[in-house]
């Protein structure tokens, strides 16, 4: 779920220093705050850290000596988890679903945002509302009609080997796109509205049609929000669980996140496998976390920087 936050904040303010003078507090109070925050931070990374640590431990060793021992380090869990969970397959499925879904979401939301921002029509706000609200409805409440529709719509076999939209990648991609377009369109339209209209004026004077304005003027200028949204959407769609679980019923199409459903049973007896599996599943999002933190935070909180 996404949220749109107070204008006038920027990623820089959140991630760097703000210009505001620091509140003056007593030295002791400051120390206590710092200790408290450090403790909370440690507690917060503990589950992940514990998983990482456990993932490198040998099962026989930890079951004999307990988890509070040292030694028995191994990479075997990763090898086993990778094979048993068939991660090669599910990672590929995740990519097959995530990449087109993110590209389509961004493209379609750019289209909507462009029109809403470029032309001042009366229904613009209603249109944005229609898209944004769609992003907030509980998916489960829409399940029945979507499920029945997908089951009833037959498609050629080259399009989906199930013969219907149910159990097909494209059906799932379409649902993801429909849900995510709202948020992205809203964010992008705010950004595009802040672009100077003189740019379009000179483009029109040069004889550029709408398509050229869109592709050669607006899109290149929207690189910053697109980078933030792409980061966010990759994470969200990779993490998407519900639709993939109910719409792809054959396990061989499951992306990584939905395959977790089956892993619990499979790894039941070996917590170190659970740990290794968790780390593998988290890895793409952890990469985002470490490498693209700025984009992720910007996308999450600054959705609606209005200029």
């Amino acid at each position: 779920m996404s949220a749109v936050v107070e204008p006038n904040t920027t990623a820089k303010a959140l991630l760097g220093k703000s210009g505001r003078p620091k509140p003056v507090g007593g030295g002791r109070g400051r120390l206590a705050t710092q200790v408290f925050l450090a403790v909370v931070a440690l507690i917060w990374i503990f589950p992940v850290g514990y998983a990482v640590l456990g993932s490198f431990r040998d099962y026989d060793y930890t079951s004999k000596h307990g988890y509070f021992s040292l030694g028995g380090f191994t990479l075997q869990n990763y090898k086993d988890a990778w094979q048993q969970a068939n991660f090669t397959h599910t990672m590929l499925n995740s990519a097959i679903i995530t990449v087109p879904a993110v590209l389509l979401t961004l493209f379609l939301s750019c289209c909507v945002a462009f029109v809403v921002a470029r032309f001042s029509w009366r229904f613009n706000l209603a249109l944005l509302g229609l898209f944004t609200a769609a992003n907030l409805l509980p998916a489960q409440a829409l399940l029945i009609p979507v499920y029945r529709m997908f089951r009833a719509i037959t498609v050629p076999f080259w399009f989906s080997d199930s013969g219907t939209l149910l159990n097909s990648y494209w059906g799932l991609i379409a649902v993801n796109v429909a849900f995510q377009t709202g948020f992205c369109a809203f964010v992008l339209s705010n950004y595009m509205k802040a672009l100077p209209r003189e740019l379009y004026e000179s483009a029109v004077v040069d004889g550029a049609g709408v398509l050229r304005q869109f592709f050669q003027l607006t899109l290149p200028l929207c690189r910053p929000p697109l980078a933030a949204l792409a980061t966010l959407e990759v994470t969200w769609i990779y993490n998407e669980f519900f639709w993939a679980t109910v719409l792809l019923q054959s396990g061989d199409k499951f992306p990584v996140t939905s395959s977790i459903n089956n892993l619990r049973g499979q790894f039941f007896t070996d917590n170190n496998l659970v740990a290794a599996g968790s780390v593998v599943i988290a890895l793409p999002t952890l990469l985002v976390f470490f490498l693209l933190q700025k984009q992720f935070v910007a996308g999450l909180t600054l959705g609606a920087t209005k200029g």
């Binding site: 949220a3 936050v5 107070e6 303010a13 703000s18 620091k22 507090g25 705050t33 925050l37 909370v40 931070a41 917060w44 990374i45 589950p47 992940v48 514990y50 930890t62 079951s63 988890y67 939301s109 289209c111 909507v112 032309f119 706000l125 509302g129 898209f131 609200a133 769609a134 907030l136 509980p138 998916a139 489960q140 409440a141 399940l143 009609p145 979507v146 499920y147 029945r148 796109v177 429909a178 849900f179 369109a185 379009y200 029109v204 004077v205 049609g209 709408v210 993490n239 669980f241 519900f242 109910v246 939905s258 917590n271 968790s278 999002t285 985002v288 976390f289 992720f296 600054l302 609606a304």
Partner: protein
Amino acid sequence: MARRKYKGIDHLSSVDRVVVTLMVVVPTLLVLWLVWLPAVGSVLLSFTNWDGIGPISSAKVIGLKNYHDVVTIYPPFWPAVQHNLIWLGVLFLIATPFGLFLAVLLDRELRGSRVYQTAIYLPVVLSLALVGFIWQLIYSRDQGLINQVTGGTIDWYGDQRYNLWAALLAASWRHVGYIMLLYLAGLKGVDPTLREAAKVDGANERTTFFRVVFPVMAPINAIVLVVTVIESLRAFDLVWVINKGRNGLELISTLVTSNIVGEASRIGFGSAMATMMLLISSVFVAIYLRYTFKEQR
């Protein structure tokens, strides 16, 4: 105002008109088809007795009977409502205020704030399904951390006395980080002169926060409220991963899902519950839209 000055640039050639129409119509149709049509469909189906097997034309309108049945003769319904309310209560009364509290502390920009902030929002990048999976390492009966430390034999995810709370702890772990980020952004956006004015007036830090800063953040507060309610309403992934929402972990969302996807497909039942979800969420969606679009009106 801009219309007269830029009269020229809104003029569209016939090709342009087709392009612009397509740019709006294609995404709109997709959203109407996969979000709004199903939303209306759920509501309509909830008033019929369609069994999902025969053609939909064979369905008869039976008024509120599905709703009546759900609340009277469907045993898991009231526990699920109760669990959703507990879920909301914990997120709203504990996790959200804690996230706010952390944001206020981090906003002081003490040394190391960035590191703490990063650590606390780490769970936000993980899916709730994975969160449920990871916490198994802590909760599982035989090898879980808690039982190793305490020597207990409680199955935290399995025992219905505890599993809802165990799931909620894991869900809160993620929720706190998210709320912290939202409020941190909100706090950075508060006009610093307000605080200074309060200080000049002799207000201490606590008074300044509750009387000045918090009220100024009204739009964020509204958004956080909506986020918390809707997240509690559509909580699903975490409990589905644990046990498909049974045995103490029933939620409305899991009941809808098991009524449709499971063996027994009870369309009417599921739709009635789906409609209740839509009804509740629409109130909060309206609040959300009101606040986010306020400045654009």
